[in-house]
């Protein structure tokens, strides 16, 4: 059982993290030598996308656990994590699009990683739509678990296919072997924001799982009332 205390602590830490993130992103870190001020979108874009990949990984793991153990809690975490993942991915794509306009000269491009991420977003929007349509909660949970597993397993194949097709994105600067290509001051801003968004994800997740439990409780009480 995750207590209210943890939820409150995560919420406060997330707010502190986000405020510090804004400070480091806008004031502490220097403007980019080539791109200028617009590069500061990175401090929003990169943490959002990294946390949403993590959120979908959580969906994958908890989906497997749900099929193996049939525990409602795993399904509640999977469902909640998928919702947050969809929100963060959509925001990351929007932020990237705003960043892309002045630097790449276009709002949208059929670049490999952008295309993969958008397909991932579509798969998990489908996941949420399916879950909304299935009335029986245990069937919905099972369908969601199967879709969460397959959707995640599909990502490397989607990525391979679109990489062979075309690529334009700058190479990954954080998640890559060897030393980072980001300047130290910028790294501070980037990691601060990353930590802030991880905390925000944790806060949303705990809150959303608690809502889900309240919903079950309500269904149970209604059934008792009807009986």
């Amino acid at each position: 059982m995750i207590g209210r205390g943890l939820e409150r602590a995560l919420g406060i830490l997330a707010v502190i993290g986000l405020v510090t993130g804004l400070y480091t992103g806008f004031l502490y870190a220097p403007p980019d030598a080539v791109q200028g001020e617009v590069q500061r979108i990175m401090y929003l874009h990169v943490p959002l996308i990294l946390v949403s990949y993590f959120a979908f990984f959580v969906v994958f793991v908890t989906s497997i656990l749900y099929l193996a153990r049939r525990c409602e809690r795993h399904d509640a975490i999977a469902h909640s994590s998928a919702e947050i993942g969809v929100l963060f991915t959509a925001l990351a794509i929007a932020a990237g699009s705003i960043w892309g306009r002045p630097t790449w000269g276009t709002w949208w491009t059929w670049d490999a990683r952008l295309t993969t991420t958008t397909i991932l977003l579509l798969i998990f929007i489908g996941y949420l739509m399916l879950r909304a349509l299935v009335d029986d909660p245990s069937r919905g949970a099972t369908f969601g678990a199967v879709l969460g597993i397959i959707g995640f397993l599909d990502v490397p194949i989607i990525h391979m296919s679109v990489v062979w097709w075309r690529t334009l994105h700058q190479p990954a600067s954080v998640l890559r072997p060897g030393p980072s290509t980001v300047a130290p001051d910028m790294q501070v801003a980037l990691y601060t924001n990353l930590a802030a968004f991880v905390l925000l994800y944790g806060y949303f997740l705990v809150k959303r799982v608690r809502l889900e439990k309240a919903r079950w409780e309500l269904i149970r009480l209604r059934m008792e009332g009807a009986a």
């Binding site: 489908g126 399916l130 199967v146």
Partner: protein, 225 residues
């Protein structure tokens, strides 16, 4: 009875039902034909343009058409409690999945085999000499599409919005497959050396393997009760 014979028995039942009313096949065939026909107007009747885009157009027709057949494969079992009967059949759940997959694969492949020559006639292309190579691309493409479609149709069957939901789940998942099939078909239709299609062929085999293994492991959870 061995596992394979049970799979064949389930497939035989569905193929027999399909043979008697030819409901899926005729719906798919006419739809595919109409799509082919409409390409001409969508692209302003420009024959060179259509021939240049032919591999993409063909697969667009195949994917849109396949959804019609896939949606029926499990939906049909919901009428008259057929699904309960099917679940009583003394076979592992995987046999039901493979049987359904076999039928979906066969029906889609037959539609493709009818559409290839029709396309060749309508747009004056030489497909006959390339048919063996085309099949080498079309078969793994169709296996993957039918495998994902069979699994997902078990989820969407019975839903109110099933006709919208199946393509919504199926198309994003199968994008790598569609992309590979289009690229492979393009290589064959252009008459380029077949080695250029091999990476795409490998990608399709990888997709087919992942989706088949994942489906076999999870299908039993979708049809329980």
């Amino acid at each position: 009875m061995s596992f394979v014979r049970r799979v064949v028995a389930i497939a035989r039942k569905d193929l027999l039902a399909e043979w008697r009313d030819r409901e899926s096949f005729s719906a798919m065939f006419f739809f595919a034909f109409l799509v082919l026909f409409l390409f001409n107007f969508a692209l302003g009747g420009d024959q060179t343009l259509i021939r240049g885009a032919s591999s993409g157009l063909l697969w667009l027709a195949f994917t849109f058409t396949s959804v019609l057949g896939l949606a029926r494969s499990v939906q049909g079992e919901l009428e008259n409690d057929c699904l309960d009967g099917l679940l009583l059949y003394p076979a592992p759940r995987e046999a039901i999945y493979l049987g359904k997959l076999l039928v979906n694969f066969t029906v889609i492949l037959v539609v493709e085999l009818v559409i290839f020559p029709l396309f060749a006639v309508l747009y004056n292309m030489d497909l006959w000499s390339r048919l063996p190579k085309l099949l080498l691309i079309a078969v793994p493409g169709t296996i993957g599409f039918a495998a994902a479609g069979t699994l997902l149709s078990a989820m969407t069957a019975g839903l109110k919005a099933r006709d919208a939901m199946l393509p919504f789940l199926l198309f994003p998942l199968t994008i790598p497959l569609i992309l590979s099939a289009v690229k492979g078909t393009e290589v064959v239709l252009r008459g380029d050396p077949f080695e250029l299609a091999v990476p795409w062929l490998k990608l399709m085999v990888a997709f087919d393997t992942v989706i088949l293994v994942a489906s076999l492991l999870t299908f039993e959870y979708l049809v329980e009760e």
